[in-house]
Point group: D2
Chain length 304, copies 4
């Protein structure tokens, strides 16, 4: 049976690792945060002394880290995963990083006799807690089969998008749309507010036409529309993903004028201290900066 290494026990990673333990996998974990490591150890995981020792004893190694920089730090160099893992090991990076960084790491891994899988995670932290993540996977057919049982322990909706690199790229396409939906919904609601329309009547119309969308239907009614700004996904993180989208688009010569405009709107919202709020609250930022009344529905209102 594969021994599984897991590096990166942050808000999402810890829950994912715990779900792997619940499913009975033999787990070695590593993080610079010792509290998180202890929590996993209490759940029966082994605590890796460092990246090198973890890499030497595992045949599947998962990383869940904040950005390209941390992933490269863990992978490269003398005591890094690529130098220390045995031939045939599968490295599965579940972080959301620059696809060009994935391509580079994939090539280096291949040169070292390792397999690479990119499997970034969709949905929110609460879904990860419950093992209900959506996961977009770029992998060879063989590697996908090998990691599938692990993915099934962490998520309920697993998409095999294609070869290595397609998982992260699909996530960028997806998150571009989700974040841009927040922005266009925000502009639409600002216009509705300034027009003096009854917002519940406006929403009722929008839900019944081709203007409907996942953010307006599923996220907004529980967040910004009821004045709830606790983040499922923050404006700061949405901004970070838009930076990845815009940089990837420019690297591959894809003009995306709306992506750029959305990026700037989120930049303005961050500068005006909205960074820690749920990304639906971009609607509040738009309204506040323009002296428009924030869009709110009655507390007992339901879209249905």
């Amino acid at each position: 049976m594969d021994r599984i290494g897991f590096i990166g026990l942050g808000r999402m990673g810890k829950s994912m690792a715990l779900n792997l333990r619940k499913a009975g996998f033999d787990l070695v974990v590593f993080d610079i945060n010792k509290t998180a490591v202890t929590e996993l150890a209490d759940a029966g995981a082994a605590a890796g002394a460092d990246v090198e020792s973890l890499a030497r004893q595992c045949s599947i190694i998962i990383t869940m880290l904040p950005s390209s920089k941390e992933v490269e730090q863990i992978m490269l160099g003398e005591g890094g995963v690529l130098a220390c893992a045995g031939a045939g090991t599968v490295v599965m990076d579940m972080s959301t990083i620059d696809p060009l960084a994935t391509d580079k790491l994939h090539a280096l891994a291949a040169a070292a006799g390792l397999s690479w899988v990119d499997a970034p995670v969709g949905r929110l932290a609460e879904h990860a807690d419950r093992g209900e993540s959506l996961i977009m996977v770029g992998a060879s057919e063989d590697d996908f089969r090998r990691v599938k049982p692990l993915l099934d322990a962490m998520g309920t909706t697993i998409y095999h998008c294609g070869p290595v690199g397609t998982g992260g790229r699909t996530k960028l396409v997806n998150n571009y749309l989700a974040v841009s939906l927040c922005q266009i919904n925000g502009e639409a609601l600002a216009l509705s507010q300034r027009f003096g329309l009854d917002i519940t009547k406006t929403l009722q119309v929008l839900y019944g036409t081709s203007a409907t969308n996942g953010q307006l239907r599923m996220n907004f009614p529980h967040k910004v529309l009821v004045g709830q700004n606790e983040p499922g996904f923050t404006i700061d993180l949405a901004h970070k993903d838009m930076s990845l989208v815009v940089n990837a688009a420019h690297a591959s010569k894809v003009p995306m004028p709306v992506a750029a405009a959305v990026h700037e709107s989120f930049s303005l919202a961050r500068a005006a201290d909205f960074g820690g709020q749920d990304f639906s609250c971009i609607a509040d930022a738009i309204c506040q900066l323009a002296n428009i009344e924030k869009p709110r529905v009655p507390s007992n209102w339901s879209p249905d």
Copy 2:
């Protein structure tokens, strides 16, 4: 029983008038296009000699015209509706026009002792053919009750949005979202294409997350994604609606950076001769101008 006047027998208006006849309403029609008038006469409507005579004999007068300019021409001046209709007449404009023009006409109508209703029509021409339009109505409670039987003959989904002026404003909010969805879907698909992703796998993911939206789910699979550019709603008309949105936003000091970026993208598409295609084909325009392969699914593909 009310005698109903109907002015404007274009692609949409003719079908709407025919549906009123089918429902048995007593109808007088007028259009500069004599063929359309004859068709209605064959269906049992009376042909008005001119706007003045129509206005003098009807107690509810409907207009369905291309833009503010034509509506004002019909309404104002010596032989216009406002001068000739009897006190208590309800004028119901179903055109999509500038809300400030509606406000002005409403005030002039009130001064002349007439009621005004703005009731622009959503959905496509085919829906109007079948009497299945969605209609957004701005009217007093009394006037709404009075026109409701007529609306029920022309559409299946009737929203009373609020007082006069709210019908047209709600339509602008709605159409801003629908058109912007086409643009962001287009940018997302352009990115997906340049990334070399399998488009059906990308769509499958998008349909399962908060990135899903009415245009991507309902319109795109029957139009641009199968290379079908016959318009349900043209890029030219979408551009016209965005002009109304942008002008209304500027008149009321609502900053809408994405609306502006979408407007420019449609302007570029029109300059590059895409104006007559379905508005989902903005995705093709984005790809063609940037030398990206157009997004297509296999002809036997279904989103489900």
Copy 3:
């Protein structure tokens, strides 16, 4: 000798009319503001009873009005200029209006046997006070010769841009650039401020490269950079001109993504109550909304 009619004695128009009187022209004036009319009468002008009587006694009629709407009101209808002026009269509109309105009025004037000249005014109100305006003229060669002595009394820099319609169009191109320069200077200074650069050193560099521009070199040092927001030209007026630019661009299928972005920035500034400030103060609006320190130079600083 021609008798000159002058309609519209606002902030600019009054000074222009006074300069015509100083140069000795025989002047009849009209405005709904009686104080301004009295001031001109004191300077030796005749006060027109109404537009009709003015039109009947003048062979050159000048208008200087806020927008297309007022120009059309004065020109059209029974007692309007086009109906009442004698054949051969030259109508010279010096307002800044939609070029398509100019084209329409030109055609109607020609049909009535009148000549049309569009001659919008550049530079600031203070320049108009001193007879130092810049004037962009669209006129036939003959009409240009006929109005040239009048223009020389009102301005120092007279450009004959081409046939009727080219004056207003040239002004739109010019004002698009001037307003957009304010915006890009504003963004550049916001970046410089956030970077913590010494603004006088940054300006010294910019003045010495191809980044230099008329707004940064000539307007900014006397306005926003010294905290002087008294308008030479307001953000509201700049916004109005950008509306004309954007609408003209859309009417003629010219994609102008930066024009649209500038338009939205000015819309946001207006919504945040900067509308009455000098248009260079868009830099302050950008900084204030994003919590960036406003760009200021020492009071004794000089660009040279």
Copy 4:
């Protein structure tokens, strides 16, 4: 006397190194391109065997490299400049790179007992050939004095912008403006062309108002306006600089909506194969994509 190391003999670097030799400096050079090294050796420079040996024998080390990546490769690691140069050495990076990379390298250099200077180069390659560059310098007062004689050999206009990091940041502010000027001039000329204006008359007006700018006055008449697309500075390089600007702005929360729109316009131009043309030719790209006639002046035309 200082021995000077020079790493990076590309299109600009070679000319700069040759000018140092002409001024009599004792020079050691390194580049992976052996032809360039030979050319410098013929001019009396010593050829460094590798970065390490160069670093060990020089007390001032200049780098002129394409991007952050190459600068970091040369500086970091075992045989890198920071590890091999003697205490007190001044490292002067004249490349245009990400200011955050400069900050990081500066800190690492300081920890190694070395001084850092950032001194990116303005103007064109031809200016570098003639020793007429404009150079923006971030350095301590002492270090600035030490490198000043070298800078005087390479350029005619040397600005000491402030402490380390301000040279590169000032260049970003400057290049943002220069590139954006090309874009707004391009949009203005597209509008002028579609309006059917005489372009020489339009330019004459623009040169006389606050709309004038360095690009329109100095670069355009020798490049795009006469159909000369040979680059002084390419659209690809302008796009690269805009990427640095946009990324720096997002890293420091400066909303720059026009920067983003310009960035997208250059991205579209690159996708449409304009990347190798002079950056003034963005005007041609805008016109070609929108089916507008390209802006051209007669070959014998002069702006004066």
